[in-house]
Structure formats: structure tokens, C-alpha cells
Symmetry: C2
Subunit: 337 residues, 2 copies
Amino acid sequence: MDELKNRALILNSRPNGYPDDSNFKLIEIDIPDINPGEFIVKVLWLSVDPYMRGRMSDKKSYAPSVEIGDIMVGGAVGKIISSRNSEFEVGDLVEGRFGWQEYAISNGSNARKLTIQEADISKALGVLGMPGLTAYFGLFSLGKPIPNDTVVISAASGAVGAVVGQLAKLAGCKVVGIVGSDTKASYIKDELNFDHAINYKKEDVCNRLLDLCPYGIDIYFDNVGGEILEAVLENLAFRARIVVCGQIAQYNLANDEVAYGITNFRNILTNQATVEGFIVSRFAPDFPQALSYLESLFIEGKLKTKEDITYKLENTPEALLRVLTGKNFGKQIVKIA
Amino acid sequence: MDELKNRALILNSRPNGYPDDSNFKLIEIDIPDINPGEFIVKVLWLSVDPYMRGRMSDKKSYAPSVEIGDIMVGGAVGKIISSRNSEFEVGDLVEGRFGWQEYAISNGSNARKLTIQEADISKALGVLGMPGLTAYFGLFSLGKPIPNDTVVISAASGAVGAVVGQLAKLAGCKVVGIVGSDTKASYIKDELNFDHAINYKKEDVCNRLLDLCPYGIDIYFDNVGGEILEAVLENLAFRARIVVCGQIAQYNLANDEVAYGITNFRNILTNQATVEGFIVSRFAPDFPQALSYLESLFIEGKLKTKEDITYKLENTPEALLRVLTGKNFGKQIVKIA
């Protein structure tokens, strides 16, 4: 592969607060010869997700940090251009944790072959990938919706939230989404068929929830934490379930900043509510079954999705910042090739 | 019953912060003739419990408030002195929600006959009553202990905490209790066989938990909330269970005080922990089975209990204040007759 050079983004320094370009460095490296069992993927699309901020920090978390000098982690889809693995052929479309680079070498353990058509492969990073699975297992395994439940979702137009809301509607629930702009509010109501939308930047979330959820909130799918979580805790139904999927409001604290303090934890007691944090990998054995359900909904047009596309590897840090500041509108991806 | 007068404590005003004597009023009333199906109980012991502070407030909670002018609610044990109910005879010992008064009229719906011997009937307000049941169901149904789990309990020498710890030891767990004095610390270690005790008034709870629970906390039985909850959240094990039984640190806020803010809610996500609030009445159908287990342990000497006794009805408000300020040592009861 002498003619090919790989370009990759490595972690250059740990951010204090929001990350910026200086935390990353673009490097150019040779692509080595591959060993038996390995294959080379030409990366077509990168996924950009809030959890990546956690990997840039050296705080203890559920997954190891990226070390300084290592290629940034993340999901991607691509096409195999060279293979010494009998299960993966040249031309196969694959999704895997290939990281922020233009070419990746894999032995297949971190990759899955895609069955969807090539025009839709970026969906394997969103609605038909990790975010879709996160929505599916968070809602069904933890939230346990029953028809007529009132479901509230924060970051509701995001990659996970948008799927949660559509699945909850299909399950017969009343769905209220919390978003950060009027455009996003219109999108989840008009395109995704949510019952109500709250723009937290303009409206008093606590009072609006009181109006919109007169019987209380049965399920809260929490992507953000902080003040919005506190507002939801004021409006719980008896035996409410709070699915803690993300706490994005707390991810970009500077070293000397303290996270928002939740003062109404007591409502968990008085409403006999359940709160559960989860990481989707817990459900890995059931991924194939869930993906097949999501794919069938997608093909039937019952599961809509919106992508927010940034172009070129070198703009991936900017794409991450868009996600962390809520500027993205739909699933944030980067077109690499 | 002309010769008998009943004396009762009614709610006189709602407290702002800690309650005091002015919030109650002692009244003397006639005991009316009873109707068919009713009986009269001479109250022997009153139970004093933290939840009573909640009933004095008009904030929405899981149970209705006591109205101004109403007799204060609470559990009690007594002996039947007159009966027109064929299932309850004169001389029977009963436990029920008889309130803060010397005589109570009941139709039996809020009473249970006691089988334990008369010398032990006050235990029906503690280890063999609501606090014991709260410990049992909170630990087993929500905490789901398995041998070698590390269990941390706040208010660990209290009526509920002391039972939780002993049951967890019997289930093969390692048990750490958090208490507010060295005397209580010695008690739970030396008398109740807890593995470790932390005196939160003298020690740094977070650091001590880190030392004592090197593999993290599997179960936290939370009776207090606030800063101690925050310290526990810093030391969770993977898939920890937090049983929210009480939030006593937050019960006596003055009207203008804000509860302690929990800033590390994110640890619930990263540890994939479960938090659940519960009120023991949820498990009412299973009370007989649980009581029979607790009674057998008690009779075998495997379940120890300590009572903190105040004398006379008129001192019940003072007994409540003892509980709310952690001055009680053991299950707080009041000897009425």
C-alpha cells in the first residue's frame, strides 16, 4: 500500500471545559502491510457523539480515557479495500470502532458487516447503530413503557432522543421533547410526530412540564442532567422511571467548575421512582434482534432520521464542539471520503 | 366510659424548620360510646419516626398531611379495654395507627393483633413493626444483596438502619454503618456486629468510604440524603443499588432554605447504578411473611434492638425532635401508660 497515506487525528492535550482544535493534532502515517486475519477499511463516515468528551478527560469513567498521542476513538463506517480475513471481503461495507482516521486496520472483532444499501450506510452510525440501540434498550429495558405513559425526553432532536420519541409514540405513549431551539421544536412535532415540544432556552421547563403532563411524568429519558433533570423531578408520576443515558450539561465543566446540584432528590422517594444509569454495551448480546427491528421500521418509513453533516477529517473537532454545545441538528456525522 | 377522659396531641401549627412544642396542643376530650364493630384501645406505647415531620408540612408528599386541629398520626401499641368487634377481644394486644393519644377507637381496619408476649410489645413499633418491615423490603426487594456485597447504611443505629445492617450481615454481606456519635459507632460494631462504623460528625465520610470499600459500594441504604448521599455516590461499585428510604437531612428545612444539591449525579450513569425510592406500604401483601421471619430471628436472639424511651404523652413532641436531630439512640418510643 505504498501509494496510500493514512491521516488521523490524535489527542494532543486534555481540554479544560469545552475542547478546541488545540486538543487535537492531524498526523500523516504510513499504512502498514496487514497480517493474516486483518483487513483495511477506507473510512467513509465518522460518527460524532457526546460521550467522546468523556474519553478526552482522564477522570474515571465507564470506559478508559484516550491517551495523549492516541488516535481519537469513535464509530465509523467504511468499505473494505484489502482483506486477509475470509469473513470480510473487498467491497464489503462495515461499521466499527475505527477512530478518527481515513483508513483503519481491523481484525473484524470491532466491526460488523452492514446489510443496508450503500446510500444508507451513514445510518449505521445513527438510527441503525449505537444511538438507535441506546434509544431502544434505554426505553424498553429500563423505561418499560406502557400505552398512555407520559414520556419526556431531553436533547429530543438528537441522535438518541429522536429515536426514543418515535419508539415511544409507536408504543402508544404521549411524548414530550425538550430541545434548544424553535426549529428543533418544530422538527420533533411536525416531522417526528411528538405530542409536544419545549424549547428550554425560551420557556420555563418546570412550569411547561406541569402544564403538559398533568398526570406526571412516567418515563424521563435523560440525556442532559442538571437543571432540566431537576425540573423533571418536580413533575414525576408515581413509580416513575428515569433512564439516565447522558449528562451532557455536565460534560464540559472546567477543572474548577462544580456540576449543577440536584436539590430535589427527595422527590425520588416520595414518588417511589426508579433512576437507572446505563451504557448500551450492557445489552450487546441482544443487538442483532434490536437492529433488525430498527431496520424494519426504517425501511417502512416509520423511523425518521436527520443527519447533520460536516465535511473532511480535519473538521471533526469542530463537529464534536457542535454536538457538545447543542448546535448540531440531527445526528452529527463527518463525511471523510 | 364516663369516668375516662382521653388526652390527645393535635397539630396546632405547621413548623418552619424544626418543629417545637408550639406546633402541638394537648387537648382533653370525652371518649364516645362505641358502635358495633368498634373497640377501644388503651394506648401503651407510641412510635416516633422521622416521616412524621413530613406529615406536619403541607408540601405534597406520598401521604396526606395532618390538618391543623387533627390528632397527630403515628403507630402505637395498646390493649383493648372495650370491644363490640367479634375479632378483637378485651385484653388483646394490638398495634395500629392510633395516633398521639391515650385512648383510640378502631374498627380493626388499621390494627393488627400481636402474638408476641406482652413484655415485648413495644417491639411491634420497631424491629417487629413498620421500621423492621421497611428494612426488610428495602434491603431484599430493592437492594437485592448477594454474599460479599458491600452494604453501606446511613442513620445506621436507627430503627430501620440497625435492622438493615443485621439482615445484611445474615445475608453474608460486608456492612458499613454511618452514624453521628462514637457511642453509636461502638454500638453498631460491638453489639450489632457491623464490620465498620463511620462517625460522620468527626470523619471525612468520602475518604473513609474509599478506604473501607475498596471494591466500591454495592448497596447504599439511604436514610438521610444530602452530603452523605453525595459521598456515597463518589464510591459506587458497578451496578450499585441505592435504596432511598429516607432523606432526613432534608426534612427540617426552613421555608427559605434550599436542600443540599447533589452534584455528582453523573456517577449514577458511569456506574450504571440504580436508585429507587420506596414506601413500605407498597409491600403490604407480604407483611405477614416478613414479620414471621423477623419474629423468628428476634426470638432466636439474632436480631437485636435498642429502644430509646421517653415518658408521657405530653413529651412526644420532644421525642420527635430527638429523632429529627439524631439525638435518639435506638428506636424512639414514648411510654404512655
